[in-house]
Amino acid sequence: MSEIIVSARGLSRQYGPGTAVLREIDLDLIRGEWTVLMGPSGSGKTTLLNLLSGLDTPSSGTVTVAGESLHSMSPAGQARFRRETIGLVFQQYHLIPYLTALENVMLAQHFHSVPDEAEARAALERVGLGHRLTHRPSQLSGGEQQRVCVARALVNEPAVIYADEPTGNLDEASAAAVLELFAQICRQGCTVVMVTHNPEIGRLGDRLIQIRDGRIVTDLYNNRLAVARE
């Protein structure tokens, strides 16, 4: 039976009167499933990702993780949730500029528990950067930086990885390498939620959710309609 790992109910976000970005989203994320969020710019994909990962607070609705309401947690509890439960991959990589690739990965370990250089090195080797451990972000290409970002998200073996346009700034080969990594970690039981504009990439996931004007308009499992929204 599919295990629900994250559950969102009635999730809405507005930035002021009449500026609703998300409206009444209901969504369950299943362990080991690769979910792709698609939709036009401004449709609310990134906002949904931020709410699910606890980076943002909903105007109404709840996100439940392992039976606990994420946004009822204290700020310290939410920080603990982020370092222990999830991994984040950003479109702009967001690496710490003055740390090496290895140290950037070890930083995530430091927040999670204890830095382990061997594990951090293994995570970077897994993304094909075993030879770039001591390089700083400014010395790496965009694709390499994104792979460091993926290694940083993977190193603590999180239950869920939220990736916001992880291939948006990558060339075709680098994008393929990153997508292959996501496929691998999904097979190992990790849940991946990925935002993309690219329909071809969208088809690679187990589940494709399309968002428009802050609402889920289609929700397809392996190209089969899971839940009709319109």
């Binding site: 980076l55 950003f90 710490i96 500029p97 003055y98 140290e103 930083l107 927040f111």
Partner: protein
Amino acid sequence: MFKLMLRRAAAHRPRRLVAGTLAVTVAAIMVTALLGVSLEIRSKIGRDLQAYGANILVLGRAAAGGGDLLSPVPEDYLREGDLGPLDALPASPLLYGVGRMGERPLALVGVRPERVRQVSPWWQVKGEWPSGDGALVGRNAAQVLAVKTGDRIDLQVGGQRRSLQVTGLLTTGGSEDDQVVLSLPLLQELSGRTGLVSLVQVSAAGDKEPADRVAAQLQGQVPGATVRLLAQTAHAEERVLGKVRFLLILVAAAAVVTALLCLLSTVTAGVLERGTEIGVLKALGAPDRFIAGLFRWEALAAAGSGGLLGWALGLALGQFISRTVFETPLGFHWVTLPGALGVSLAVALAAAWAPVRQAVQIQPATILRGE
């Protein structure tokens, strides 16, 4: 990992750390220099205030108004042998007497020249101070007696006659201009009051204690003496000291506030510049204390290095101020080190408080989408 990030962040943007360090250095320089000067201000300004003369009188019974100033009773005077408690102070024992030159009465005063010079440095002597059978004649008295330096005068005190040489003429602007000044032993001998003095003038301004405290300490230490504080002089000195101290504090406070504002703007700029980094750290689950620590320790590093550098430079500035203004070198005071470091650390923590609060309140979602 925390230390590594601190080191790397400092090396990544060295100019910010240097700016913070310089701001703290300025505060530490001023605090060290002015604290050092302030610690010695009483003795330094006191030396100058001695020009105003005695601020404490230690009086025998006769001089205190309990009897005739020229009383023949030895108990109405102070015994020189009892004046030990005054040895460490600028103090001038005086004996008053009267004599005659022919038919003309003369007011006489016996002094110890080396002591009177300490307490009344404004006395101007044209000629020599008296010793042995010498006399210093006040300017007005010299006119009345029609004598000049080198003349001899025949003085009669009680039943004794003595021919004295005028060693010099005295100008004080006070009652001494009308008197004849003899050495204390001579007047004691002529007036039959060996070992006795009428009063002692004390100038406590050069000491480390306020005059009223010195006066209180002297009370009861000299047998038969009444200690009287010349309140107007003593209070004027305290007022001057208080005002100079207040001025030093104001200047130091202005330097500290300036440093605080400079460091505040430096740390605030750091938080703004590193907003994305803070957002990433929060997204990775960094505890607030980790993020706060990055900025607090950066400010403390500036405080530590700036405090030490400022202390060293402040010692030099204090020395310069002391030599230029007071014309004396400034002593070394260890207390200036904890003083400078304490103020530097307090400035760092105060300057970091608001920016650190701002840093921990950053919303990662907002900052990472570039707002």
